[in-house]
Subunit: 231 residues, 2 copies
DNA sequence: AATTATTTGTGCGTATGTATC
DNA sequence: GGATACATACGCACAAATAAT
């Protein structure tokens, strides 16, 4: 029996008042102390509930000014970024990957600048094809900063994908993520089994570790890919 | 003087230990009580810090089992979903919109099913073109469940976009969001000023209010659109 | 421009609940 | 069942920010 936490009661009651327009957008709601008194809970409990609602974007809180219902409730979706293998397996398919090429190579200028690396940094270029149930799922083109991940040169990328190896061995803390639509060029069309020019979802990700930039990757998904989120 | 909250000290120290591999992935970390003692804080303070790290996906906590460093630190990006107007203005452009068409019409079957509505629900179909600095930015095709939003039939959609009107007048609480790549058909190509078949980012969103489904919308962005996130 | 009052933010000590080993 | 570790809750206190004076 999982009991319903008290702060959730407060949370839900506040949410109800927001959605029922009992508290209208932009309006000042009662203070924590008043709510605690009214709902019969400690102020800390009310605080926890209102803090969650503020993090969700439904309330705006400022000291002394009080708590207001957000005017334009900015919804934030939480997009979790799984390993490709898990992404594939979550769709009920079997994942496999093939290492297409792997070599020392300097980054192209735009990639180097996106990561903020010096011109002569030694980097490795890796190209991988990911399969779901034997069919092409996504093409991965990746550059790795060898200085940031010393062991990478010896990583057995035929057994474990670069993606997965890096997640396990290179601690990272921030980065950027971009999704865009692009037409398949001849090479991609051949690898992914689609027509040249077919619209593809493309993910570009730059990853930085606590000390140095780690990797840059472009994933081109086979046609049919959808990025799905619940709000 | 903005003081650094104590729970942040604990948070950062724990993060440091994770990133420095002092606490290795999968390993059990000391209990709350031990950490509180070691770092000189109350257990509640440590709890707050570890809770944040768990929400960020870096730790996994289970009663009695203790707290472990996540094996594959699932990073979660927070994608905020702004009004199109704000999205355009954030890029430093001026937003305008043109109402292309508006009429009562039944939803196509797939849309109706995605929203979970009965066959004869009265709905309105709205088509809008969004402009950034006078150039096409996105095409919007929308169906609205009139039963859920009674006032919508009278909304002045030439002055305020349907998007914005609904955010202000129709409280919603959950929904789904899908991004995909699609080729421009002849109609879209004309409206967005691109070649037929050009790869476009397409957003499909289903929105439910607390009581009933509210709206379904497909946004087709003009070429060049990128969905950007920081992790 | 300085002061005060108010409201949220944080922190502690303690107690109890709950899941799970 | 018992023990353990996290989860929640309360009451109190003080800090920080800032609207109001």
């Amino acid at each position: 029996m999982t009991r319903r936490p008290a702060w959730r009661e407060v949370h839900d009651e506040a949410l109800r008042r927001i959605q029922s327009r009992e508290w209208t957008p932009g309006a000042l709601i009662p203070g924590e102390a008043a709510l605690a008194d009214e709902l019969g809970h400690a102020r800390a409990t009310v605080n926890r509930a209102l803090r969650e609602l503020a993090e969700a974007g439904l309330l705006e809180r400022r000291r002394k000014a009080g708590t207001r219902v957000a005017l334009a409730p900015q919804r934030r979706a939480r997009l979790s970024i799984p390993l490709i293998r898990e992404e594939v397996e979550a769709r009920g398919a079997r994942h496999a990957h093939g290492l297409l090429s792997r070599r020392s190579a300097p980054m192209p200028e735009p990639v180097r600048l996106a990561l903020g690396l010096a011109p002569d940094t030694p980097t490795e270029r890796v190209e991988t094809l990911h399969l779901a149930d034997g069919r092409p799922y996504a093409h991965e083109l990746r550059w790795v900063n060898l200085a940031a991940v010393p062991g990478f040169a010896e990583a057995p990328l035929d057994t474990i994908s670069a993606n997965e190896w890096l997640v396990r061995h290179a601690p990272f803390d921030r980065g950027t993520l971009d999704y865009a639509a692009a037409g398949a060029d001849a090479g991609l069309a051949g690898l992914l089994g689609c027509a040249e020019g077919a619209p593809l979802m493309v993910l570009e990700r730059a990853t930085h570790g606590p000390a140095a930039p780690v990797t840059w990757v472009r994933l081109s998904y086979a046609p049919g890919f959808r990025l799905h989120m619940d709000i």
